[in-house]
């Protein structure tokens, strides 16, 4: 025990010396996709992004902020009370708000993958009539007229004139830093902590039954698949972007990091618990033309295998991330 504390003590000292606001790629992560060469993270930019993230000024009636649907204690997912996001005037969205984790490593965003660069992600939420329902031009006007923002943009970017790209860069500086790599599973991989036998059994089963889609250290292969939630789809999913009938009902394979704290599950919030999700894969798959070939016969799991997999999935909850004070509202 003394040794362990000593090791932790050393680490803490080391991190103190480091720049808390530098973007660091975890050793076992792929290279980031985000264009940091155009927008390097700085303390001033990160803090400006954070202020924007928590500020309802982005919405049409100044009532809804990013934080409303992206809550740090839930790995920046929405409350389970809100299976669909609540926008201005209590308007309800059509999809479940995802967690915001490891975004700098992702090629595409949203359940349908319509957005291909993290910078553009907030525009969708700002302009969607059931989210913030605001015009981007008006947001920029409000920020320029605000008593605080112009000086903060000056500090972050050397320009007191607020513009769309600078606002989006500030938000991206905040959201790219949302790196989750300190779950018990990560600590197990690094040899810093052990998983229980039950969790290890779950990991082994996960590798056999789940990993072909929830692949790699990010726990997603970033593909779009129809996982048999319905026989017909009012929300076209990926086909909304590709206009290809074969993509109807396909949605992005979500990362499973922090999955235990981000219910409900699926784009339409159909399942309230991980048990319900696994039951779906065991015997709930519904047929439709674009159903993923790997799911046609379901994924067989015994009850004990199911509980083992769930105990493994819980090791992906990263409390260092959900309690990281850099992200706290100031």
């Amino acid at each position: 025990m003394i040794l362990v504390f000593a090791v932790i003590g050393c680490k803490k000292d080391e991190t103190k010396k480091e720049d808390k606001y530098a973007f660091v790629v975890p050793a076992n992560f792929p290279a980031p996709v985000y264009t940091f060469e155009n927008n390097p993270v700085t303390e001033a930019g990160f803090k400006l992004g954070k202020k924007l993230f928590f500020d309802p000024i982005l919405s049409v009636d100044n009532t809804v902020s990013c934080n409303n649907c992206h809550n740090q204690s839930l790995a920046f997912a929405d409350l389970s009370l809100h299976p669909f996001s609540k926008g201005v005037e209590e308007r309800q969205g059509i999809r479940n708000a995802p967690q915001l984790v490891n975004l700098a490593f992702m090629k595409e965003f949203f359940w349908d993958g319509g957005v291909t660069h993290l910078d553009f992600v907030p525009l969708n939420a700002i302009e969607s009539e059931f989210e913030m329902d605001e015009e981007i031009g008006h947001v920029i006007e409000k920020l320029n007229a605000d008593p605080e923002y112009p000086a903060l943009f000056e500090q972050a970017f050397g320009s007191s004139k607020v513009t769309t790209p600078l606002m989006l860069h500030a938000l991206a500086q905040f959201t790219t830093m949302m790196v989750s790599n300190n779950s018990p599973y990560d600590k197990y991989l690094r040899g810093e902590a052990a998983l229980s036998e039950h969790e290890l059994e779950g990991l082994h089963l996960f590798e056999q039954k789940c990993q072909s889609c929830h692949a790699g250290i990010l726990f997603t292969d970033e593909s779009y698949r129809n996982n048999g939630i319905d026989t017909a789809f009012t929300d076209l999913g990926r086909a909304r972007i590709t206009a290809f009938d074969g993509d109807i009902g396909k949605f992005r394979v979500p990362s499973l990091r922090n999955v235990a704290i981000t219910p409900p599950y699926m784009h339409n919030a159909k399942f309230a618990s991980l048990e319900a999700v696994l039951d779906h894969y065991i015997n709930g798959i519904k047929p439709s033309p674009s159903l993923d070939a790997s799911l046609k016969n379901g994924i067989p799991m015994t009850p004990s295998e199911k509980t083992a997999i769930i105990s493994f999935l819980k090791t992906l909850t990263d409390k260092d991330f959900t309690q990281d004070e850099r992200f706290f509202r100031e």
Binding site: N38, N39, V115, L118, H169, I241
Partner: protein, 280 residues
């Protein structure tokens, strides 16, 4: 922050060669060339009206009356070529600050200044061909948030749900269009927005409407210190909405707001542009 985006290997090697030449021969000189864009509708000049106007001067390919209240397009990655191997590539740079954004032009019928693209630092010589990209291609979109003509708060046409820019936008009214008045549109609205830039290998149905357009000047244009040449390029809206590949029936095709919907009109785009004349 600034990034030179468009330098194909060919142009890069030529640029390097010219750089070498420069060292050897201090006499290398440069000039300018102006590209002036003039929008027309068939044989008529294009004159815009208010979005609620019922003054219909034009007819589409199906004899349906219409007018125009908004028209514009993005041009970038401009190259010049000459009969003796002369080449010039207008540098394209992006960045969050408007001053970092170069080589990307939004040609707007409503803004006469936007209709002239002044190319500078063109190596002296003869040029007989111009090539440009119509629309904003992947390599620019994927640089992320960009200022100037690509800033949506400054009038850039950015789709948020399928993030990317509209390459060409036409809006007006036609009595043939059954569209009812909404908070955004007047009655009988016609809006054709041609966008979409994605090519995805395993999904052949993903629509990329960004086009490369090459036009002959029909003559050799001299560029150099003593010259002030300009090329007048006509863009015929009728070729876009009633061209060889597709013709719009405003009774059914009146609100085009996604890549797939714009595909057939994008196929018409090349024929919509031609060099009308050049001034030496």
């Amino acid at each position: 922050m600034k990034k030179i985006l468009f330098l194909s290997t060919l142009f890069l090697s030529i640029a390097l060669l010219s750089a070498c030449k420069k060292d050897d021969d201090s006499k290398e000189t440069f000039g300018t060339l102006a590209l002036e864009f003039d929008n027309v509708v068939g044989d008529k000049d294009l004159n815009m009206v208010e979005s609620t106007s019922s003054d219909f001067k034009y007819k589409n390919g199906l004899d349906q009356d219409f007018n125009v209240s908004l028209l514009g397009y993005y041009i970038t990655q401009i190259k010049l070529e000459g009969p003796n191997g002369e080449t010039f590539a207008d540098p394209v740079t992006t960045g969050a600050n408007a001053t970092d954004v170069k080589g990307i032009y939004q040609i707007l019928e409503s803004d006469i200044n936007s209709q002239v693209v002044n190319l500078s630092n063109v190596p002296s010589g003869k040029y007989n061909k111009v090539t440009f990209t119509l629309g904003i291609p992947a390599e620019i979109v994927q640089e992320g948030a960009t200022g100037g003509v690509l800033d949506p708060a400054e009038g850039a046409w950015l789709w948020n749900w399928d993030a990317g820019y509209i390459g060409m936008a036409f809006e007006g009214r036609s009595p043939a269009s059954p569209v009812a008045e909404t908070q955004w549109n007047p009655e009988n609205s016609v809006q054709i927005h041609i966008g979409g830039w994605k090519d995805i290998q395993d999904n052949p149905n993903m629509v990329n409407n960004v086009k490369t357009i090459t036009l002959d000047f029909g003559t050799n244009v001299n560029v150099g210190e003593k010259y002030n040449p300009s090329a007048h390029i006509n863009m015929d809206l009728l070729e876009v909405i009633a061209g060889h590949h597709a013709t719009a029936d405003f009774t059914v095709t009146n609100q085009v707001h996604n890549p797939a919907g714009g595909h057939d009109f994008a196929e018409n785009l090349h024929a919509a542009f031609e060099v009308d004349h050049v001034h030496q």
